[in-house]
Structures are given as C-alpha cells and as structure tokens.
Amino acid sequence: MRELELYFGPQHLGMVGNFSITLKVEGDRIVKATSNPGYLHRGFEKLMELRKWIQNFPMVCRINVVEPDSMEMVYSMAVEKLAGIEVPERAHYIRSIYLELARVGSHLFGLWAYANMLGFDTVAQWAMYHRDLILDLFEELTGGRVYHIYIWPGGVRRDFPEGFSDRIVNTLHSIGGCVPDYDAVFFNNRIFCQRAKGIGTVKREEAKEMGATGQVLRATGMKYDIRKVEPYAAYDKVPWEVPTREDGDAYSRIWVVRDEMIESVHMIFKLLDNMPEGETYNRVPNPFKWNIPKGEAYVRCESSRGELGLYLVSNGEDKPYRVHFRTPSYPHGLTVLEKALEDASIADVGNIMISLYVVAPEIDR
C-alpha cells in the first residue's frame, strides 16, 4: 500500500494546544509518527535570566496554562533551597491543599479535553463546570482564576480567608457527589471502554526507558510518585495512597487520573483537619537588593502530569544565571507519544495524545 505523509495539527479537533505531529500512514495505520513542537516557544527560561528573583514568580506559572501551580511550587522550592529560606508549617499545609486543588482542577480539565475529543459532550460539560467551581475557590484564595500567582518564596501570598476551609469541603463534596454519574456515563461506559482499551499501550520497561512519569508510568503498575519518593510541602504529614493500574493503555491512564482525583480530595480533607495555626510567610529580602548566594539546585515535584523538575543556577546576583525546567510533557509528548502512536489508527491519534496528558506549552516553554 502507498505510504502517505500526513500533517496532524497544530489546528485539529483532536488536539489540545499548539502542537503538531507528522504522521507516515499506510491506509489508516500509522507507520511512523514524528512530534513537531515549537509553535508555542516563548523563551521563558531565557526571559527569567533577565528578571529579578521575585519578578520571575508571576512568570513561571505561564509555562503551563492548565496547572500553573506546580510551576510556582518548584520555583519557590528552588529559590528557598538556594537562599536558605525556611517556610512556616502552616504554609506547607496551605501549599499542599492548594496544589491538590490544582491537581483536581487540572484533571477535570484533562477529563473535559478527553471526553470532548471522544464525543462525550455531556461529561465534558460536567467536568468544565466542576473545574469552574474549583476556580471559584482559587479566585477567593488568590484573586486570580487561572494564574493564581500564589506560592512564592518564603511561603504563600495570603492566608486562607475566613471560613475558606468550609467552602473547600462543600465544593469538593458537591463535586464528589457526581462521581457515580461520571462513572456511569463515562468511566464505565462500554463505548468509552472500547475506544480506550488497548489503545496507545506503553509497557513498563519502555515507559521507564523513555523517561515517562506520572500517570503514564503509574498506569503500567509502577508506584512512582514524587510526593512519596521525595516528600515536599506537607505530603508526608498525612497518609495517602498512590493509585495504579496494570495495563499501560489509554483506559488505564484515565482510570489512574480518576482515582488520583478521589485520592486528592481525601488528602485535602485530612490536610484541612491537621492544618496548624500560625504564620504563612517568612519575609524574603527587599526584591531590589536580593542577591542569592552562588550555587545550583535541582528540585522536583509531582505535577498533575508527572515529575516536574527545575534546575536553577545562581551566580550570586539578583537574577538567576540559568533556569531549566524538566517538564513531564516533554518526554510524554515527544518520545512516548511517538512510540505509542506506532501502528495506531489515525482516528486514535488525539485519543492517545490526550490520554498521555500532553500540554504543549510545557514542551515549548
């Protein structure tokens, strides 16, 4: 059969974000896929070298539109490590709660993308609505809906408003009440099951080899989560489980996402119960006269997509010398995706891509 070259994206119904894939197809079977990023290159890492330490903090969140919060977290962690800043206990709890809320919000957004792409419009609408409820919480806490600009070096930017914990609990309960509906209409839906099972399978060894993390790796049965491996914020203060699946296909991945959301909600409840009173911010030096001692740091956290790392070098000046992000979408979108697309059908390209949870802005930065 004749081999054709097919350009998929950057504008395509099955795509989220500006990203394209060049496919070599034979009929509707993919022979070879080549990821083609670069549509969204904004040069953040270079820009950060030109801005003072604190001026970078409103910028890092823009690297990942869907879940900006982990970006703030790694940046703060790296700066705190380099400058030797302690974070108050309460701020650790607030950070964890906030990051878990962000995870739920991000997963709901991912669910919207996935359901929408597969044609499950009802579920997509629900997910979008529920994500909005979480954005309302963020708006109340931070003043922003999407870019919260909230975790900064030294702690968090503001304490919880009066009665905020109760509103978190109420919102999460009302979202949690819809889990049976989600299950019935989407996760346990036979149509979805047939579309997703056995699609884009990645074996555990392959996944490890290609640097996959997050639910891509956990869907192959490996319990690997930075929150457990290298606990930060308040993740070691409460008990929780790492959900896994065995099959390594799109179906397993989306179930890991579902279980993770439920685990996150439970974790938030536990964190809220144990949260101490006290300060939430240790003041950092005057931003115009803040030179961080010479040194380098690599920190990592578990974003909703996998391991997010930041390599930060200070030359002893008031600006970073070098910033490099290790974003989870990078291996997922470039190496894992190319592998998973081999021998798949054209109709499943978007399906596989979104199940790998690729967010293009993370690749390009």
Partner: protein
C-alpha cells in the same frame, strides 16, 4: 470495576430537567471575590510618586508620569503611575511593594472600548467622579460597558504582613538607660557589618530622601555601597556632598528619614546610622578618599566659625585650590557641634576626625581666635578676597521672668560639661524648654547629677509651654529622656524664680498655659493666671532658644547687612549677603537650624564664591 452496561449512560438524561448552571451574562452577574485582581485603583492623596511599582513590574506596564498640575507634598514627587493594560499581567507585585499601600487592584475585570488608547490610563480614585465611576447602587454591566465607566470596588489590597519591603528597621544596639545615665558613655553603639548590610538592604531606592535632604546627598548610592559591603565607595559618595559624616552620622536631623517611603507604614530606613557606619568603619579618610586639592589659585578666603557650614565651605573651597583660613573662638573645630550635643550623643573624637581631615587638605584653622577681639572683622574684609559668615546662634535666650538672672543658660551649661571643667549641679534641677536643646540639657544634667551624687536620689524635670503634641523636641529624644527618668511638666509656663532668704534658688512658680501660638501660628503664649503650680528645685537651666551674636561686626557694616522678616541674614542665590565679598550660611540664614541645612547653605555659598572669585 462496575458492570459495563450500555444503558447506564442514560442516567445523564435526568440532568435535562435541572436548572442550567451557565450564567446568562450580562443579565446574571457573578460577583468577583473580595481579593479579585482586576484593574488598578490608586489613591492620589496617599501616593508619594516613589515609583516602586514601576520598578517591580515584571512587564514594564507601569510608567511614572509627571503631573504638572499636581502640587507634591514635601518630600514627595508629582509623578503618578500610568498603567498599560496591554502589558499588565495582574500579578499584583505592584500592590505588594507599594509603600503607602495606595495602589490596589479593583474587582473590575472588563473594559470595552473602540479606542485602544483607553487601555493606557492613570488609575485614580475619584469616587465622586461620575464620568469615570458608576456608583455601586446604580451599577449594571450593561450600563458600565456602554458608558465605559467602572465600578469603584477594592479587590486585592496591600497587606503589611505580606509586603515585599520590610517595614521594621534593624534594631540599633544601645546602652541601657540605667547604665548610660550614670556616665557620658555614647548611647548608640553603632551597627556592626552584618547589621548595617541588613539595614541597607531595606532601601527601595526610590530616592525621595535625596529630594528631601537639604544638601541632596546621594543617599541611595551610599546605602547601596554599604549593602554591597563597600564602605569605601560609600564614604566617597558621602564626601561628594557632605564633608562631616562622623558628625552628621550622629546628630543629623534626618529629613531623609522623614521622607523615606518605608516610614509611611513602617520604620524609616536608618539613613543616619548607616552614614555613621560608613564613617566609623573607615579609620583613615585620607587614604580611602584619595582627594587632592586643585592647584593653588592664589585666592584667600576667610571663614568665621568652624561649625558645620563653615567646615563645609572650607572643604569645598580648599578642594578648588583656594587658601582658606578658619577663625573660631573655641579651642577646636565643630562650632555648635563642639559645645551643643552632649558627649553621649557626639563624642569629641568624632568631631576631630572630620575637622582633622579637612585641615589635612590644606585649610588653616585658627582656634581660640575671636573675631572682633583677637582680630578685627574689617581687617578680614580687607585682607581676604571673600569672607564667609558661619557664626551660628551662640547666645542663649533667657525667659526674663523675675529673678531669671539666677538661672543658668543652656549653652553655658552644655559647653561647661562638654569642653569645660564640668559644672556643680543641684540635686533637683529644673530645665525650662521643650526643644531638643532642653532635652540635651536635661539628659546631661541627670548624668552629671548621678556622677556627683552617686547612689543618691536626684531629680531632673523639664517645664515646657508646649503640651505633648506640640513639643518641638524629636520623639526619640523625648522617649529616651523618659527612659532615663526625666520628669516632664508640659503646658506650664514659668512665672517667677523663687528664692530663699539667702538668695539661693528654691524653685519655679509656674502657670498653666492656655495656648502657645496665636491664630497666625506665631509664638504668642497666653496663660491661666489663676492656675499656678510651684516646682521645687535648687538649680534652673533655661533652654528656650538661641540668637546669633553680631556684635563683632562694626556698626557701619551691620547697617548695610540686610535681614529677612524672620530676622535671618538675607542672602542671594549665590549665598552672598547685601555686602559684597561677604557670604553667609548656617543657622543665621536658614530656619531649619540644623547641621545638614548648614551644609546645604555652604554648598550654595561655595559655588557662589567660586563664581565670585
């Protein structure tokens, strides 16, 4: 995993009968949260024009623009931030850095207009301006969008706990009140390197202080040099405008700290102590500064008075290559600084450090030389190309109440205890006055008492016309005095010094003050004659003010010397008096009556003399 049925997805059908979740905007509104980060609001009354918001903005969305119609308050600028919403990312860093807390974000999040230039504007709170703002009770999105008006509702506001600047100053180590009142030990110990650098790091570099400083020192530069641990650089910057940092670093009236942005909601940057740190750290000015005077011009200048302004004129003109001779009646340099501020505030070594450096540049000092007695003023006018009058206010005023001649005058008391043999004091001293000199006298008196009567009970009290709020002494002086055990009697005026049979002082009869100032704000005290009080005391010091002594100037010249309405010597923009060749500055010219204004006068005069010579 539950059983996968083909029918179960139809559970979703029941949602068809539920109320839609979508808001029908703009008819259904959702109120933004209390902390919402929308468009900016700025209270122009509070805004100082410091420009910190523009400096911190990561996107350069904020430009400081001069508003010509705006009359800035003293120590402030008439610049206001202009926002470009094509750049703004609503991060709110500007809110967290704003020292007065006037810049805030509102809960408004839409702005609709055909003209893109409207996206660049000055945030300005004008709650009454109906052209820009819709009143809250008359608000609807439709009205707001059609009329391009906004709603004045505060969102993300500044919180000192989370501010990007540090409102608290590094505490200056001091000798405790119990210990220091027993001797003349210097009260302020001075920052060490680590403390000085930490304090210097608080500076936001908005430069409001430099405007406020009469001598316009390059404060942000020398503070930054201290932060960077380069005290040599710092001292060089200071010496560009101020040749007496060891003196000013201790007793300056710090107009800079009053203007400091940080002082609006916190404690001002300790500019004075940082200057002191720079001058104390450098042991030898000469090798550090490496200043050499210009080649000799052959011109001769006489300076009368080796006070701050006289010393500064000497320094500036010596560097220009002129031959400067300084005449002073005291045995050393410093003028009023030598006799006024007590040893616990300004030790003599610090004065000599500055004076010796100026002498080492080539200036000639003739101490113990009183003009008018040891040398005639007219001779100076004849022999020198120019003469500078920096004589200061050297005669203490008396209350002139009955028996006032039995009292001691403030300057005599201070001089005696600083450079003289030390005076015999009573066990119960009354100080009349509420200014800084009165505080100096009282605090010095209590020290002398403790040294003369160790372990015995001694009392020092002050009587001032002014009440607590009006008292002209600085707040920290009053606080320190209280800590040392000085008693205060505010709003009482002296009526009569009461004597015993032998003619010794027994106490002071006082009457209650009705008001100190008249309606024009001039000094014109009135009293309740019937409300009197007797204060016991065996020694009374009058510290109610000083005046200059022009008696050395011959009569025909003094007639030509013009004075202002406030009895100050009138000088032109070059610092020259109405008599040619005669320049003047310092306390006889300005109303501030402090060292740094004297330096500012000296700068003007030395530039004027340079032109004249």
């Amino acid at each position: 995993m539950a059983k996968q049925s083909l029918l179960s997805p139809f559970k979703a059908v029941r949602y068809l009968f539920k109320k839609p979740k979508t808001l029908r905007y703009p008819f259904e509104l959702k109120d933004p949260s209390v902390r919402y980060r929308g468009f900016h609001l700025n209270d122009w009354q509070e805004c100082t024009g410091c420009g910190n918001c523009a400096d911190i903005c990561p996107n350069e969305a904020i430009t400081m623009v001069e508003i010509p119609d705006l009359e800035p308050k003293p120590g402030q600028k008439n610049e206001r931030p202009e926002l470009d919403y094509g750049r703004c990312c609503f991060c709110g860093l500007c809110v967290d850095i704003c020292p007065p807390g006037c810049l805030r974000l509102s809960r408004d999040y839409f702005h609709i207009h055909f003209d893109t230039s409207t996206f660049v504007f000055f945030p300005h709170d004008e709650k009454t301006d109906n052209e820009k703002f819709l009143p809250s009770d008359n608000y609807s999105v439709l009205k707001a969008s059609l009329s391009h008006r906004r709603q004045d509702n505060e969102g993300f506001v500044s919180d000192l706990k989370y501010s990007l600047f540090d409102p608290e100053r590094v505490t200056m180590p001091e000798v405790s009140p119990e210990e220091r009142k027993l001797s003349f030990i210097e009260q302020v110990i001075g920052y060490n390197k680590e403390e000085a650098r930490r304090e210097a790091s608080r500076c936001l570099e908005c430069k409001l202080c430099e405007e406020a400083c009469p001598a316009h020192l390059k404060i942000h530069d020398y503070v930054r040099a201290i932060y960077e641990d380069k005290p040599e650089e710092s001292l060089k910057k200071i010496f560009e405008d101020n040749p007496i940092p060891a003196i000013c670093g201790r007793i300056c009236m710090k107009h800079c700290e009053d203007a400091c942005s940080l002082s609006i909601r916190g404690e001002a940057l300790a500019v004075r102590w940082l200057k002191r740190y720079a001058s104390d750290t450098i042991k030898d000015y000469k090798t550090t500064l490496e200043l050499t005077p210009a080649p000799s011009t052959g011109k001769k200048v006489a300076v009368i008075g080796a006070g701050p302004s006289g010393l500064s004129v000497t320094y500036f003109l010596t560097l220009k290559g002129h031959k400067v001779v300084v005449f002073d009646a005291l045995p050393g340099g410093g003028g009023m600084m030598r006799i006024g501020p007590p040893l616990y505030r300004l030790p003599l070594e610090s004065i000599d450090k500055d004076v010796n450096y100026i002498a080492s540049l080539g200036a000639e000092f003739r101490f113990n030389t009183r003009v008018g007695k040891d040398i005639e003023f007219e001779d100076l006018m004849k022999d020198y190309h120019a003469v500078y009058l920096g004589i200061g206010t050297t005669v203490s005023l008396s209350t002139r109440v009955k028996n006032a001649e039995k009292c001691i005058l403030a300057l005599d008391f201070l001089a005696e205890n600083k450079i003289g043999k030390g005076s015999r004091v009573g066990r119960e001293i009354i100080v009349i006055g509420g200014g800084n000199v009165a505080m100096d006298v009282a605090r010095e008196a209590i020290r002398v008492q403790h040294m003369q009567y160790p372990g015995e009970e001694v009392i020092t009290k002050t009587v001032s016309l002014e009440n607590w709020d009006e008292m002209p002494a600085s707040e920290e002086e009053i606080e320190d005095s209280k800590k040392e055990g000085i008693q205060f009697n505010p709003a009482w005026g002296p009526k009569e010094v009461v004597l015993d049979e032998k003619g010794n002082v027994k106490g002071l009869q006082c009457m209650k003050v009705k008001s100190v100032f008249n309606e024009q704000g001039r000094f014109a005290p009135t009293f309740y004659e019937e409300n009197q009080m007797f204060l016991k005391g065996d020694m009374i010091v009058e510290a109610i003010g000083q005046r200059p002594d022009f008696s050395f100037i011959p009569e025909k010249l003094i007639k030509k010397l013009e004075f202002t309405e406030r009895r100050k010597v009138k000088v032109d923009e070059n610092g020259m008096t109405s008599i040619p060749n005669l320049f003047a500055g310092g306390d006889i010219v300005n109303l501030n009556l402090d060292a740094v204004t004297g330096i500012a006068d000296a700068k003007t005069a030395s530039e004027g003399m340079e032109k004249f010579l």
